[in-house]
């Protein structure tokens, strides 16, 4: 069946993310008072399909499937859903799925649109161990930034409810906002360390193709801007007491910037999109 390939399986996974995202709206409206087991199970199903799609693609390529934007977005989504399923093993943290599902659905649709422009079995865009490590670390950092933006969305939602004295602020299973802020910070630090390491490997261990330069490559410049953005966010938090809502908006805004500009700058890059 030529139509039944990794892309089709991934499409089913995205459909399940969509179902979960719709169900999450009801959970959010009820302030997480409902049991989140069903949502967790839907995301387990989506994760299984997502994993099968990634494995199938990996086997067909004979390497880790992080070779183009489609696979990269798929990989970031996979790290996010994996992290959620691990955390969701604790019943008290299962509500996180209500925040993860819309993001996963959005990323899934985005990845699927990208997949339409990718050949089914293609030569990898990256080759060599350092290149794979460079790509994997950077995508893992985006996964961490994605999770921090989810935590930040939770923070903003809960903070708003507490400010406006909504009952659901007390009823909900969302952790205290102080703990959420700590989670945002730790995920940002993890993401920043991964991004820094990934960029350093790219700069030190890899050589740009002949006739190209890192300093004129759109993706490299963009990556440095993203790095500066997250560094500024952390410095503002530590040195200038930019905490709470501003910090959460910073995490959400920075990741929104990454999501909205990643594709465009990758296409402009001569090194990353030869």
């Amino acid at each position: 069946m030529p139509w039944f390939n990794d892309r089709t399986i991934f499409l089913f996974a995205v459909a399940l993310y969509g179902v979960s995202a719709i169900y999450s709206i009801f959970l959010l409206r009820k302030g997480f008072r409902e049991d989140n087991r069903l949502n967790y199970l839907i995301l387990v199903g989506a994760f299984a399909l997502h994993t099968i799609a990634m494995f199938q693609r990996g086997f067909s390529l004979q390497r880790c499937p992080i070779n183009n934007l489609y696979e990269a977005t798929m990989f970031i989504g996979w790290t996010i859903v994996t992290a959620y399923l691990v955390l969701g093993a604790w019943a008290r943290l299962r509500f996180l799925g209500a925040f993860a599902a819309p993001l996963l659905f959005g990323m899934g649709v985005y990845a699927f649109i990208l997949s339409l422009g990718v050949k089914q079995t293609t030569q990898p865009d990256f080759t060599g161990g350092w290149q794979s490590l460079h790509a994997a670390l950077i995508f893992l950092s985006y996964g961490a930034f994605g999770l921090s933006s989810l935590a930040a969305l939770m923070y903003l939602n809960q903070e708003h409810d507490l400010k406006f004295h909504r009952m659901r602020a007390i009823f909900s299973l969302v952790p205290p906002i102080e703990r959420l802020e700590l989670i945002i910070l730790r995920l940002l630090i993890a993401g920043f360390v991964l991004l820094t390491t990934g960029l350093l490997i790219g700069g030190l261990a890899l050589t740009p193709p002949p006739g190209t330069s890192y300093w004129t490559d759109a993706k490299v410049v963009w990556s440095i801007i993203v790095w500066c953005l997250y560094l500024a966010l952390l410095i503002l938090h530590w040195r200038f007491a930019q905490t709470g809502r501003r910090f959460a908006w910073g995490a959400v805004g920075s990741f929104a910037f990454v999501l909205l500009t990643f594709w465009g700058f990758s296409l402009l890059s001569g090194i990353h999109n030869p």
Partner: protein, 351 residues
């Protein structure tokens, strides 16, 4: 042997009647023994709290005969000679089992869904068990009642949320701060409600209390009682950089804390979250401060609204709880006596 309940509670009798029927703890073992030795009951448990006095008994006789005997025992035991109308209620199965389950779940309590009664019921049962006054019927009924109470607590929202102002304050603090351990609480104005809220916060791990009051003696007295320290009323703002939760209840006719005053204080606190509980009327804290970042202000109306919403939610859960109780009571009574009348047909007894 059927289970019979006889007693009086806050539903049927005022406190001046209940107090005359109350059993002192020391008197209960002897009374249980008397119940058995006189043949009034084969098994018995006496529950005596501030809101109810009840005897749960299993008798070999028919409930119709046993119930008047138990009633006479209860009345004569306390030498009560005043006229009684509907103060004393009696239940036979299956209502007696349902009643026991309702009591265990806090459905019959004055504060709907409260959990203290379960502890009191366990204590009453343990006392009877230690004195050999329980047998197969009461053991099974009480064990089942404790299981039903646990089931109701986990499966319904009847015990969820706080329905007093002080516990709502604690719950709000728990939604803001990762942990209440090591949190500094400041009480401005040593009123009764603020004292209760401070005590509730301390019981959940708050580090210590700073008390400030116009009358410094009163502040010192309360601080000593709560294990905290007192500061002069003019100096409370100086302590603000260490404080996480403020409970304010002064009788000042104007705001004692406004946006202009709080802004530099928040900078000194490095913008750490601050929970302000303003239970004073007129209010002590300018409402505008709630728009400041990391400041969460709740006044007495906000707290009472939350408490009332919780109560409403608990009331909405009653039907669910009763359905569970009826089902569990049916399974217990049916298991013991096949052919029991359907639960919709009331057995005799009244409340």
């Amino acid at each position: 042997m059927p289970l019979i309940v006889i007693g009086l509670s806050h539903h049927t009798s005022p406190v001046h009647v209940r107090e005359r029927f109350a059993f002192a703890d020391a008197r209960i073992p002897a009374t249980l023994e008397l119940l058995r030795s006189t043949g009034v009951a084969d098994e018995a448990v006496i529950l005596s709290t501030c809101n109810r006095v009840e005897i749960y008994a299993a008798t070999s006789g028919a409930p119709k005969q046993s119930m008047p005997t138990l009633r006479d025992f209860l009345v004569h035991c306390h030498d009560y000679r005043d006229p009684l109308t509907d103060e004393i209620y009696t239940f036979a199965e299956p209502q007696s089992i349902e009643h026991l389950f309702k009591v265990a779940c806090g459905l019959d309590s004055m504060v709907l869904g409260e959990t203290e009664i379960l502890g009191q019921l366990k204590k009453a049962y343990d006392l009877a068990l230690q004195h050999g006054c329980t047998g197969a019927v009461l053991n099974k009924a009480f064990q089942k009642a404790f299981n039903v109470a646990k089931h109701i607590r986990t499966e319904t929202n009847i015990q969820r949320g706080s329905i007093s102002v002080s516990s709502v304050a604690v719950e709000l603090a728990q939604k803001i701060f990762s942990s209440l351990d090591d949190r500094q609480v400041m009480v401005i104005g040593a009123g009764d409600t603020s004292e209760k809220a401070a005590r509730a916060l301390l019981s959940r791990g708050a580090r210590s209390i700073i008390v400030s009051n116009r009358s410094h003696e009163r502040a010192e007295a309360l601080a000593a009682e709560l294990g905290g320290r007192a500061v002069h009323f003019e100096e409370w703002a100086r302590e603000f950089d260490q404080v996480d939760i403020v409970i304010s209840s002064t009788s000042a006719p104007h705001y004692i804390l406004d946006r202009a005053k709080l802004q530099p204080l928040m900078r000194a606190r490095k913008n750490r979250p601050l929970l302000l509980i303003d239970i004073a009327v007129p209010r002590d804290v300018e409402p505008e401060v709630n728009f400041m970042e990391n400041v969460y202000l709740y006044n007495i109306d906000d707290l009472q609204t939350i408490a009332a919403d919780y109560l409403k939610q608990r009331k909405e859960e009653i039907a669910r709880c009763e359905a569970i109780i009826v089902e569990k009571a049916r399974s217990l009574a049916g298991g013991r006596r096949p052919g029991l009348p359907p639960l919709s047909e009331p057995a005799f007894g009244h409340e």
